[in-house]
């Protein structure tokens, strides 16, 4: 009984450690291939368009509503202390430090990351990845590296847009709907937000971009050879990427604060 339990947990531990090792190797290979010619600018641009431009609508939509709900919640909380004038700083700081990077990363995972896993996974199943290999073209370089680099480059831009739209959403609710002064909203924001907050948010965005594309390409690349396996890989990719984003966010915040 005891031996069976130990064996069971041992097997799980081994599997987890092995998977972590493989993921790390995968990331290292990706970075290595990024440094080697030929540099695939066309592929990179295509991926930036896919991750960036095509996520814009979702980012704008979630950004504006997040800002609006923050404005609403913030207003009623702050009013208890008679501090409605601080709404601008409350909205801006939560957007820039936390909600912008985290929610953008989650949206990109759902929209672009899952598609990435499915695309690479299907290419694996239909032997298109093997075909690249037989043509002496590294699939890591051709397929994976441009996606990861694009994710790292694009996510900070998406986060910036998310932040700006969100802050405007808070402004709409606070100033236009609930009637705090426009100058107060802006002034409290300007006095409270420091460059450190902005850099921190961008740093988060960069690392989330890496996490999301890394996990999603990895899961696609190592899909098992069936339709069921592809569905499983996509689900796992989205779940793992989202969870890792949140965990990493905690660690990064504790260091940055």
């Amino acid at each position: 009984m005891i031996i069976a339990t130990v064996t069971h947990w041992g097997a799980i531990t081994l599997r987890v450690v092995r998977e972590m090792g493989r993921m790390t190797l995968f990331l290292m290979q990706t970075i290595m291939w990024l440094g080697r010619p030929p540099f695939r600018f066309r592929q990179l641009l295509k991926q930036m368009h896919f991750i960036g431009v095509k996520s814009l609508f979702v980012i704008v939509l979630t950004g504006i509503f997040t800002g609006m709900v923050l404005g609403l919640q913030g207003y009623y909380s702050l009013r208890k202390f008679g501090a409605e004038a601080l709404l601008g700083s409350a909205v801006a700081l939560s957007m820039i430090r936390e909600l912008g990077p985290v929610l953008s990363a989650l949206m990109v995972t759902g929209r672009a990351g899952s598609a990435m896993t499915a695309e690479i996974g299907l290419m694996r199943i239909t032997e298109q990845i093997d075909a690249l290999d037989t043509m002496a073209i590294s699939p890591m370089q051709y397929l994976v590296a441009p996606k990861v680099l694009a994710g790292v480059l694009v996510l900070p831009l998406l986060v910036s847009i998310f932040d700006v739209i969100g802050i405007y959403g808070g402004y709409l609710v606070g100033v236009k709907l609930l009637g705090i002064s426009s100058g107060g909203y802006t002034a409290s924001m300007v006095s409270a937000v420091e460059w450190k907050d902005v850099y921190g948010g961008i740093l988060k965005a960069l690392s989330f971009g890496l996490i999301v594309t890394w996990v999603c390409t990895y899961k696609g690349y190592h899909t098992s050879m069936s339709a069921e396996g592809l569905g499983k890989a996509t689900t796992e990719a989205v779940v793992l990427a989202s969870v890792l984003v949140l965990i990493w966010d905690y660690f990064l915040t504790s260091v940055l604060l």
């Binding site: 239909t126 032997e127 298109q128 075909a131 037989t134 043509m135």
Partner: protein, 264 residues
């Protein structure tokens, strides 16, 4: 290298997936410039064998010698050098979904040659004509039938003029008529390009008509390899059973006459 030495030699190859031993001390010599067909049970490791030849799978033990270079010992860069001799037609053709037929065929040229766009254009149209896909350049793989995909896959494989072509069940999923036209196409292009071909197939007796050599993979080993006429007369009961579709009787002279008629 002389015409006598085999272009590919597999020496004492072992490969297991988990507990399942797929290749069990396999030896095979592929003669230069000939079409060698490997037959065997479904799931018996034929595709695995083919993938060993081009280094997509590394063996647990043994050697894969291509022109006497052991590719199992090579790093990625040297392996890619050797792979330039090869092209492979995959079971499902493995066309890139995101590219049109033209771009699929042009892909190896753009990646691996120094031709300019005009020359690429010329070469692609030429090879598409050879496989009978003129007018299909702008179609996408999802718009093609199974037979047309195979043709496009063949065109993409041929476009760099490989020394060695690997065919992984080129006629699976096609009706008998289409299968025959694909077989004819393989024969025709082999005569034109003079490549060495290794084909994995189930199509008995058709492959006897087009192959120079037939090899039987059984229990992880090549148990017999001979020219078709000799191969069908083998005394090995397992092979007799396999090529007669479960009936352990001697092969009629029919497949030999097929061969006489088809082989140019």
């Amino acid at each position: 290298m002389s015409n006598e030495t085999p272009i590919i030699r597999l020496v004492d190859l072992y490969k297991a997936f988990g507990e399942h031993l797929v290749l069990d001390g396999l030896n095979l010599e592929v003669p230069r410039g000939k079409l060698t067909t490997i037959i065997g049970r479904s799931g018996g490791g034929k595709s695995v064998l083919l993938k060993h030849i081009i280094g997509l799978i590394r063996p647990d033990r043994g050697q894969v010698l291509v022109d006497e270079t052991d590719i199992t010992q090579l790093g990625q860069r040297e392996l890619n050098e050797i792979r330039k001799k090869f092209a492979m037609l995959f079971q499902g053709a493995a066309l890139f979904d995101s590219l049109s037929v033209f771009d699929n065929v042009a892909f190896p040229l753009r990646e691996k040659s120094n031709f300019n766009e005009a020359e690429i254009n010329f070469k692609v149209l030429e090879v598409l004509e050879q496989v009978g896909l003129t007018g299909m350049e702008q179609k996408y793989p999802s718009e093609l039938s199974g037979g047309m995909r195979k043709r496009a896959g063949l065109a993409r494989a041929l476009v760099l003029g490989p020394e060695i072509m690997l065919f992984d069940e080129p006629t699976t999923g096609l009706d008998p008529l289409l299968a025959r036209t694909i077989h004819d196409l393989i024969l025709e292009t082999q005569h034109r390009y003079r490549f060495t071909a290794v084909m994995v197939s189930h199509e008995i007796p058709e492959i006897f008509g087009i192959s120079d050599y037939v090899a039987m993979l059984l229990d992880g080993k090549i148990v017999e390899m001979a020219p078709p006429a000799q191969f069908v007369r083998t005394q090995n009961p397992a092979i007799q059973e396999f090529i007669n579709g479960g009936k352990p009787e001697c092969v009629s002279s029919e497949s030999e006459s097929v061969q006489e008629a088809r082989r140019p």
